[in-house]
Each structure stands twice: as structure tokens, then as C-alpha cells.
Symmetry: C2
């Protein structure tokens, strides 16, 4: 408090003539000179380079996403983010000034971090939470899963946290936890922070503070969460699901249900076998971009998109349950499938291998398959062979509702709950190196019409138990059904079993009320499956 | 006893002139007229067709192996088989008469069985013992495994029992058990009969009595077990292992060690999956002759030859232990192998796939592999994934002895303990339909130089714990080592990794004192591996 008052006093002492000669555009003017309405120059506290002042608790703002910065300023202005220093200044900023200064700081280079992380943060809880989260016990996603690789941020909703001051990160986490800060989308940060103990908050803050920051991944297809310029009004949302800010949903608490637990990642040693398991995990997380497996992937999907927590999470078709259930007879192809054939099927459909560089799924003895097999086997260590009753296997079926499902209603749910990550256009977000940050849900880079996920019942079950990420089981059954119907009412790559005759393909491989292929019109009026999107 | 006395009285009443006009050769004369020394005609009791008389306890002898019949007569004559009716007659038979009458009855058609089996014998213990034995609990091999398909007999040591009278079979089993009959090779029947309860003896007797008999499979390459014409004298056998008759060895008792138990065969239903499991079992037992898999087998081997009891038996590299241990890193090929790659390796080496019709191992998605995978998975039902410490896995290593191993000593052990089934020439016995009854241990139809079994330590471990069949752990460690050395001192199909340079192949893939490839001379003086046998 002493620091804050000192700064307020300092800004009030600035001569008004200081506004005259600085930067030529509005953003730099606000940053360097303040505004005619008496707003102090941002640089007074955040520094000329936007690096902030760690001891004072002023965050680095240089290189953060402009949308994120603008939203924070507007939230300060509207009282949705509570801060005694920023609120009085934000009140005096115009929309134009907010946009300009946000763009200005977004365009500045990311400052180098001053801190070195404590060893324990890198080796222990900090690294773990950042890279893996704690799905099994507490349902906590990895920080990087939303904040992007290296914690550098994704679009306006997930700010860069790498190279941020440890004290600032820690203060925010404590504020989410205590309710002092509430402007997080869907209550995501509240949900996470509520479950962190102080030592974890310290560790993860130290971990990110010492990471060199980099520019965030842009995501311009996501909706605004600023109250005044929302694209979907809260009152439009069906069944009580609103675009929440701050109120954490009542989701499930994994780990409380006696689910099978895979070995810890730290149990992996340097043996040749463990190296293959590690490669399997990397391929699983990043199938479309990993150098070993990318040639077999014809879209922007990875195994981990449909199997959360790298295939570990119960109710998310966990690999440990699949491993002990295969080989098995599948009605889909009317034969007994080995585990390898099953994952080759994932490549053919969910990862649209036909459109890949290799032109098809990897062979049984390819590095990709062997690595994925080794990884799955390792995840299942100790699970009883042939046990198809393991709790949490597959996506637990969702009972149908009285209202049935409706893509029109689903569009509203989607805008409120899904577009935040997957975009208004369903195209997701791709990292500069080709890594999928948020997967495409329809269109050329999504799963094709042969994938299990195109079935509305399967998708509804997946969504109900796993979406939004980290908030599984927070949607109502109705919203999950409707969102699934909306998602699957869009065009996607052709079913590779299609021989040119849409009616024949529909009759042979599709049909039933959970399947829109060949039976429902896309937005352009064509039957779904009729005009497969091309990449 | 009453019946026996009645028959003796009957034979004594036959007019001696009855010898005059019957069959033109000696065998038929003895059978139909008896001998000048007063031996009654065999047909008096065994019938003109050799079908025997069930109520009197006289066995059918028509169509049995001549060597078997001759041995029995000589055993009666020598007092090694005890029977008050047969002994007095056999004493008066010459070697020539025995050979002739044995050949005569061996050449008669097999009579049709009179009996119908009780339903419970077919559905229950009778069928089970006949086809599967009870390896896991009591170490009992299937009757058919030695008596041949359908119980029709193999060579002189394993008589046909199909179509034999139930009362006779039962009496023999009780006699082995009580010690009343002791002329079984290696005490095999004593070992089995000792463990059967009366209800099982009744069931299996009824089962075989109702089976239509057929001619036995000849096996002329096996040693005589008749004392007077043994090829190996008991005093030649090292380390106390002799060609026993009647004294059961002190073997292990499976089931007492808490080994993992696979599901029962009767647990398999008619589901599409179970049908594939059943096909897998059939392929496993009969890889070289099964219509699905034979094209991938370039010798006369089947999976079941090295994995006893269809891959179920502990200490015999059971499949349930292998299933949960793969994928795994193998030094043999210096990579992680999936379970499928591992069994493809069995085809390449143990089953010499390079010389097969297909020219190589079956593909990962072939019916053969999928069936074997489904079968292995099913065998492992309930076993903990990744557990490499299951008791009974693999072939438990055998400690080296002070004497080390020596093929010369091994030749003596082999003659006494192994040649009975595998033949003096190691060529085994093949059934008329191509099925392997006893596998070849060397030569063109055996495993090739790349198979794990060519390593003397591996073979010694296998032999110690599993050979002779049903008498595992009865050989001394020394005998097991020596027999393994003898077996692997013979030529066999070339290592498929051989590129034409014996020294290079030896250096790259062989070497060490457990491997004779390229390092020891075969009988013809050539280095082993130098002149690969061709089929």
C-alpha cells in the first residue's frame, strides 16, 4: 500500500507539459506522457520498456496481447477488476486511448526476465504444474495448455505469464483464490487457484518469472469478453449457462472416484524403453507437429485433443483403459482389432491420414506406432488385462434429454463456452511451429466424417465430461448435447471410405439420429459430406 | 478272475489240428491257430477281427502299432508286464512269432467301436483330459498329445486307445496307478494315472471307447524300449537318469506355486471375439499345419512346441506372462518391440518363415497375427499390465554346473530321455495331415540358427523345466545342460540374418559359449551354420 500511494503521489507531481513532445501516435503518447484527462504515463510504473517493477508489484506489460491488455483496462474502468492504482486511471481512459496504448505495449519487445528460478521450482511443483498440471488428482490443466507453449500467452483471454514478475503472478493467483480478482473467463483461474496450496503458487510463480518471455500466439477469432462489446448476451444463453466471469462452476473432482492411476511421469528413467515411452508421449501430445508422426496427420489434430491429460484422464477415453480392452471386436469394421489397428483407425479418421504427406496411417512397426504402443502400455502399468469395467473408461454415455439436441441452441452454448478457445469459426489456434494449441472443431483441419467424434452422442459425452478444458462436468447435459450438435452440423473432411456416392456412403457407414452426414444441410445449403472441405 | 480262468479253460480245449489250414504266413497262423508250442490262437480271446471282448477285459489289438504289440508280448514274456493269461502264452512265443503276429494284427482294419460315450464324458472330464489334460493344476498332458490325434496312437511307445474297450482302458489306468502295470516308458503313465481320480478314469475311458479308431502314426525312428534290444544301456546314462519303466520321476507339481491362471477354455462363448480367440488357440497349437498360418511356417514347428499347454504352462514361456511384458526393449534387435513384432520374430526364427510359402512372417494385421494376439490377450485376462515379475514367466534360468555341458554326454541323455518322442535322428513325428506330433529338434524342419532355442542356456532351461513332456523338472540340471548341448550341436536352417559370410554372421549375431553357430563342427566336419540343411 505504501508503494501504491507513493506512485500516485509521483504521478500527480508530473508537469502537464510533459505530454507535449513525446511519441507521435496516441498509444506511445499515453504510455509516455499520460492523457489530457490527467492519467499518468504508464511508463511511470511499468517502465519505458514495459517491464514493470517487480518489488512494487507492477507487472510487465510489454509484448502482451493487445486484446488482453485492453480488456484489463476496460475491466478496471468498469470495476470488474479491482485495483486501487489502476481503477482511477482507467476511468479516465477513452476506448480509443485504451486500444492505442494496448497496441503500443503489445508491440514492444518482451523484456528479458531478471529472475533465476529456484531449483525446486524447475524440478518440482513449478515445472509440473506448468507443463502437466494435476489432472488426475484435482482436474487442474497444465498452465501452458491455456497460456501457450512456454507460458507466452494465446490471444486476448490467456495472457503471457513467462518473464512476468513472480510477485505479480503470485498476487494474481492469491487474488483469484480469495475472490479479489474475478475477471477470468468462465471462472477458469478461480477453479485452478482454489486448489493450489501456497507452496505451489510460489513454485509456479518462480518458474514462470524465470522463463524468457516471447510474443503470444495471436487468436483473433475468439469472442470478446468485455461486457460492453460481447457478441453474445448472457440472457441469450440457454439452460442457465452464461459466460461467467469469476464464479467457478461446479465441475467434477477427478481423483475422488477411485480411478486407475498411471505411473508418474518422473518414474521414467533413461532406459532405451523409457526413451520410447517419452517419445510416445510427445507424439501423443503433438501428433500433427511431432517430426516422427506429422507425416501421417492430414489435419491439425493430435491424440491428446480427444484424450485429455496426454491420455491419462478418466472419462476422457484414457489410454490405460483402452490398452487393457484391446484387442476387441468392433462393429465399426466388423472384425477383431488389435490395439495397433485401433490407433491406426484414429489416424485414418480423427487425424485424416488420407490427406497427410504419407497418405495413410503409420505401419504397425513404424516409430510412431511403436512409440504410441509403448506409451499406452506404460500408462496402463498394473491395470488388469482384459478388464473392460475400469471406472472412467471411454466417454461415459450421456442420457438423452427430453428436449433432444438442437444445433441452433448449440450455437449459443458454443459462443459462450467454446469459442473462447476454439474460435467463433471453430478453427482453433495453431502455434507458429505448427503445434495445435486449441484444435479445430470443424473445417479442413478437423477430424473427418469417419471419426467417432462426428457422432453427436459421442461428442456430447466427450463435451459433458471434459469441456471446457479443466471444467469438465460443468455444462448441463442439455448444453453438452446442443453444443455437440452445433459442432457436428458443420462440414469437415470427407469420410475416407466414401467412394463417390454420398447416398451409398451414408447408407453403408452412417445414419441414425446422431449422425448428420448426408442428412443435414450445411450453412451453404449443400448436404453435409457433399462438399468436403479441402485443406 | 472268473473270466480269465474261463478263457484259459477254453483255449486249452481247442483241438491241436486247428493249426493246420489257416493263414498262409506265420503271423496269421499264430493268430488263428496258435503255435506248435501250445500257445492258443490269439483270436480265441481277441476275436477274429482283433476287436477283443469287452466284457471279458480282452483289448482290441487290431490296427495297433506292430512295435507296440511286440513290446507288450516281450514284456509279458520277460515278466515286465504282469498278466496271468498272457504271461504263460508269451513265454512260449519266439521272437519271430512275436514279430509276425504283431505285424499281422497291426495290419488288420481298426474295428468300429461298439460303445457310445456317456454325454458327460464328452462334455466334461473325458474330453478335457483327452484334448487338454490338466497342465496348470497337475502337470498332466493331454492324452492325445502322446497318443496322437483322436487317440489313434503314435509309433511303438504310444498305443492307440481310441475304440478300445472302456473296461480295458480303465483297468490299465488303475494298474498304472496301483503299480500292477509298470512297463510304461519313463514312468509316464504312472505319473499321469497317479493323479487321476476314479471319476476321471471312468470318463476318459468312456470317451476313448466311443471314438472310432484309426491306424496309428508310424514312428520308426524311435528307440526300442525292450530290455533285450535296447540301443542304450542303462549303465551308460549319466547322472542317474535311466530309461525308466514304471518308476515315476520326482517332477514339479504345477499349480502348487501360485502361478497366474488363465481363463478356462470353457469360458469362451460364441461371440465374434471368442471365435478369433479359438482360432488363435488352434493356430498356436498347430501353426505349421493350420490353414490360416501354415503359409508363414518354413519348417515343422508350432508355437505350442516351445510354449507347453498351448502357451498356458508356467516356466514354459507362458503367453500370459509375455502379454503383460510387451512392448519391451530387446537387445536381440536393439529396439522396442511390440508384442506383434515379438511373435513375428518367432515366425522368422523358430518357424523359419523365410523358407515358407509366404517367404516371411505374417503382417501385423493378418488373420494369423490378429488371432494370436487375441488369444494371448485372452490368456492374460486379469494379469497386471507391465508386470515382469509374474512367477513362472519365461524359462527360469538354469544355474551352470561344475561339469559344464558336453554334447557327448548329452547324446546318452538324449537316447534315454528324448529319442522316445523326437526320434534317434531328432526328426520328430509328423501326422498324415502335416500336423507336428513331436517336433524336429534339428535338421531342415527344426528352428533355425536365429531362434532363441539354439542358445544352449535357453534350451537347457526349457528342457529342465518342461521335458520329457509331462515330466518337467525330472532331469538333473546336468542332464538338461548336456541334452541341450547335444540338441544344439546339430545342423539346422540358416540364420535368416546371414548375408553369406559365416564369420561375419557369427561375430554380429552369435558368439559366447552357449552358441555353437560357426564355432563347432557338425558330424560331417563342416562348421555349424556352414552347410544349412535344406528342406
Amino acid at each position: 500500500m505504501q508503494n501504491r500511494l507513493a506512485i500516485i503521489a509521483f504521478t500527480l507531481m508530473l508537469p502537464s507539459g510533459a505530454f507535449a513532445d513525446a511519441g507521435s501516435d496516441l498509444g506511445s503518447k499515453v504510455a509516455q506522457q499520460g492523457t489530457p484527462q490527467g492519467v499518468a504515463p504508464c511508463m511511470s510504473c511499468h517502465g519505458a520498456d514495459g517491464a514493470g517493477i517487480a518489488p512494487a508489484g507492477y507487472p510487465r506489460i510489454a509484448g502482451l496481447d493487445a486484446g488482453y491488455l485492453a480488456k484489463q483496462l476496460k475491466d478496471f474502468r468498469a470495476g470488474q477488476r479491482n485495483n486501487p492504482v489502476m481503477m482511477p486511471m482507467a476511468i479516465n481512459l477513452t476506448d480509443e486511448e485504451i486500444s492505442a496504448v494496448s497496441a503500443y505495449y503489445a508491440g514492444l519487445p518482451v523484456p528479458a526476465p531478471a529472475a533465476q528460478p529456484p531449483v525446486e521450482a524447475v524440478d518440482g511443483a513449478g515445472l509440473n504444474l506448468a507443463q502437466w498440471g494435476d489432472w488426475s488428482q484435482r482436474g487442474i490443466p497444465a498452465c501452458d495448455q491455456c497460456h501457450g507453449p512456454g507460458g507466452n500467452g494465446i490471444g486476448p483471454h490467456f495472457p503471457g505469464i513467462s518473464g512476468q514478475h513472480a510477485g505479480y503472478i503470485k498476487a494474481q493467483l492469491q487474488a483469484w483464490k480469495s475472490g479479489g480478482r474475478t475477471n477470468d473467463p468462465l471462472g477458469m483461474m478461480k477453479t485452478v487457484a482454489d486448489q493450489l496450496i501456497d507452496a505451489e503458487i510460489d513454485a509456479v510463480s518462480a518458474y514462470y518469472a524465470a522463463l524468457p518471455g516471447a510474443l503470444p500466439t495471436p487468436a483473433t477469432n475468439t469472442p470478446s469478453l468485455v461486457a460492453s462489446d460481447k457478441t453474445v448476451a448472457a440472457e441469450d444463453v440457454v439452460a442457465g449457462q452464461v459466460l461467467q466471469q469469476g464464479a467457478p462452476p461446479a465441475g467434477r473432482t477427478p481423483g475422488s472416484d477411485g480411478y486407475f492411476q498411471s505411473p508418474g511421469r518422473k518414474d521414467l528413467m533413461d532406459s532405451p524403453f523409457d526413451q520410447v515411452v517419452l517419445r510416445g508421449q510427445a507424439i501423443f501430445d503433438n501428433t500433427n507437429a511431432h517430426p516422427t508422426s506429422s507425416k501421417y496427420v492430414g489435419n491439425d489434430q493430435a491424440c491428446g485433443n480427444c484424450h485429455i491429460d496426454s491420455g491419462r484422464l478418466a472419462e476422457s477415453a484414457p489410454l490405460w483403459a483402452a490398452w487393457v480392452a484391446y484387442p476387441a471386436y468392433r462393429t465399426k469394421n466388423q472384425k477383431v482389432n488389435t490395439f495397433i489397428e485401433r490407433i491406426q483407425g484414429c489416424f485414418e479418421y480423427s487425424m485424416n491420414a488420407q490427406a497427410s504427406a504419407a497418405g495413410g496411417a503409420p505401419a504397425a512397426n513404424s516409430d510412431t506406432i511403436v512409440s504410441l504402443v509403448a506409451y499406452s502400455f506404460w500408462l496402463a502399468k498394473g491395470a488388469p488385462t482384459g478388464d473392460k469395467t475400469l471406472p472412467g473408461r471411454g466417454y461415459p454415455r450421456l442420457q438423452e434429454t427430453e428436449l433432444a439436441f438442437d444445433p441452433e441452441r448449440g450455437a449459443v452454448v458454443y459462443a459462450a463456452q467454446c469459442a473462447l478457445c476454439h474460435g467463433d469459426d471453430g478453427a482453433g489456434v495453431i502455434y507458429s511451429d505448427g503445434t495445435t494449441l486449441f484444435p479445430a472443431l470443424w473445417g479442413a483441419d478437423s477430424y473427418n466424417w469417419g471419426a467417432g467424434m462426428h457422432k453427436i452422442d459421442t461428442a456430447a459425452a466427450f463435451i459433458k465430461h471434459n469441456m471446457p478444458l479443466g471444467l469438465g462436468d460443468s455444462l448441463s447435459d442439455q448444453d453438452a448435447w446442443d453444443a455437440a450438435a452445433y459442432m457436428n452440423s458443420h462440414e469437415r473432411p470427407q469420410d475416407p471410405r466414401h467412394q463417390g456416392d454420398l447416398v451409398a456412403t451414408t447408407e453403408q457407414f452412417h445414419g441414425g439420429r446422431f449422425d448428420y452426414y448426408g442428412q443435414r444441410n450445411a450453412a451453404d445449403g449443400s448436404l453435409l459430406g457433399e462438399r468436403p472441405s479441402t485443406r
